[in-house]
Symmetry: none
Subunit: 207 residues, 4 copies
DNA sequence: TATGAATGAGACTTCATTCAT
DNA sequence: GATGAATGAAGTCTCATTCAT
């Protein structure tokens, strides 16, 4: 039976990752000190370097491993079946809901992933691409089912969908979690994405 | 009377701001050194502190002043008139086009504004809110014209629209400006936002 | 009864010492990590501290024990007999030859012994003094035989002889073992030491 | 008129170099802390990095610049003229004498130059080679004058001479400057090098 | 004996900011 | 106003050593 004590809540590497999520989300990557993460993990500074090459590697590992869990989780939820439209709803609700369940993680990914993707040499956000892939898969399925416009550019659409969700999460976080509750927002954004801004049958010009 | 010489075509303060855009967009805020910006502006390190309180203030001033120009510019373009739908198209095209005209500036805003909004004490991104306001104004106008759904939540929609555009710009930049050319993307995202993902008349569930 | 297995042909302590010679000669004492030596010895880091007090002690033990073998070895060779001049030749040839046979060891002694003798508290290089003693013994014997100048200051001469040999070894090592092959050098330096720089009978002044 | 105060004894860069000589000679390169040198120079830690790329560069600059002065100085002394034998005497006396005049510098060069030559990438001890060149020049001149054996291998001899002097200096330093005073040693080693160990006319074997 | 994960003190170095000129 | 040399606080990372197993 695993012991339960302050320093035995789990594997040391994982304790460090979880502390990093907390500290990075609170202060941002550049304003976070490795020693802070060490303190929050209950390990010595040097211990962090037994598990991670350096501070950058800690952030990247965090992205890939935690994002990997997110991807696996949403895929599991989607596997239950239903129409593509249902799945898109589930995906969106799951994304917005993540902010309640894994608040710190989402904040780190939202705020730091851009920096890292742009400025860290040799880092490809593999698991993030997989997350986008989940959206593509749904959209393609929707096309096959005849629910989604066959001429939709999936590459552009999946980015637009992710961007919309991401910005809404960010708004929620930056408002101090006071405005636009995720569940409300999810319904609203679903309708926007599925039906668009216009009243049905409106003339949108150019065609 | 302002002198006119080789290095005086612009005000020294503005030279610093323009250099900061260049350096911040290339390296990111935290990896940029004040002395680098000084060198790129052709002024001494200390001179920067005559015009800006500190490095943070330089970034914030950059946001507010440059973003102010962007807002004024897009408002001017929209003033020409047309339907709300036309205006939304113009807004979107203008946003995507910015990436060609003001590449560095857009990159800084995309990548650094989040950090700053989240972590800089006492900074409210006033001009950024005005930019969102431009979207709201268009949407409200569309409602009045009867082109946009009257039950649309404008607060959510404007964020979603901005998020979608922002993510598409980011994709373009991170791809090394090779994928999804802004003008192509603009048309695609316009249609997505106006008409939605679904085929017209499709049953999107929930009533 | 000592076990005989692949990794037990030598005593563990000796494996560590031999690995230390290799690592120290390659990287220098300060740039060598204890864990590197552990890996090269095939033991755990902590095991080194069962046999040596600390990193310094490892270096000192290495000096004394390995140097002890060198001294015993050269004494054995000299015991065969011959004139003092013959013995000096043997000594010099043996010294230069060591560089081929025990390259790493000689490099460590040349490069690290000075540091250690100067900066390590409480370290007297006993075996190194014995090596110098071997030279003294030869020189004294030469005096008794009448081959070496009776007024020679043996203390100075033995240091000068060692210094000359040492510098020539160093040159060989630092040249990447391309210049001044030890055997060639040995002959040359023998003649220099025995006969001096001058042509026989030359007036060297002051006398 | 230059002010004379604790912090105005000269150019800042030179103050740092002189402090480095003192600290390196006392503790050795690896045991010396940059902050110690800063304190001894009367500058802030960071100031050192305005003048030197890093700690290694400080040591290398020290070698080359100070050694350059030593070479220039001995060349000036030798320019007065005299026979090659006289010049060799002057060179040797000057070398041994350096230990009194520039004790710290000589100690650093003796103890640290080897390490650096062996382990620092991309460092060629240019000025040290020039010092050896001074010896070669004297020996070649001696050959032309007919005072020095024409078959002497100058490359080997100059190293042997340097090595002998170096070791004698080292002995003096390590003895706590109690044994073998430089001036005594100089005379003794001169005679050894010029006339050799043997009694004149002795049979040294091999021909 | 042997292990090797963990420790934590301490080094080097950077860089935003100041201030005498 | 303008300069840029100087500052020094602070952060990342290393590595000799320990000790529970």
């Amino acid at each position: 039976m695993p012991r339960r004590g302050p320093n035995n809540g789990g594997d040391k590497r994982d304790r460090i990752l979880r502390a990093a999520v907390k500290i990075f989300s609170r202060n941002g990557f550049f304003n976070s000190k490795v020693s802070e993460i060490a303190r929050a993990s209950g390990v010595a500074d040097g211990t962090i370097y037994l598990y991670f090459k350096n501070k950058d590697d800690l952030l990247i590992s965090l992205f890939e491993e935690k994002m990997g869990e997110v991807v696996a989780d949403v895929r599991r939820r989607l596997a239950a079946g239903g129409s593509a439209i249902d799945k898109l709803r589930i995906f969106i609700e799951n994304h917005m809901d993540l902010l309640e369940r894994e608040s710190g993680l989402v904040e780190v990914i939202m705020v730091e992933l851009r920096q890292s993707t742009k400025f860290l040499k040799d880092y490809t956000p593999v698991k993030f691409f997989e997350y986008l892939e989940v959206i593509s898969d749904i959209l393609e399925e929707g096309k096959r089912e005849g629910a989604i416009r066959p001429d939709l550019n999936v590459s552009v659409a999946r980015r637009a969908i992710f961007g919309a969700l991401d910005e809404l999460c960010l708004t929620y976080v930056l408002s101090g979690k006071r405005k636009y509750h995720p569940s409300v927002t999810a319904a609203e954004v679903c309708r926007l994405l599925l039906e668009g801004l216009c009243v049905p049958g409106a003339d949108v010009g150019k065609g």
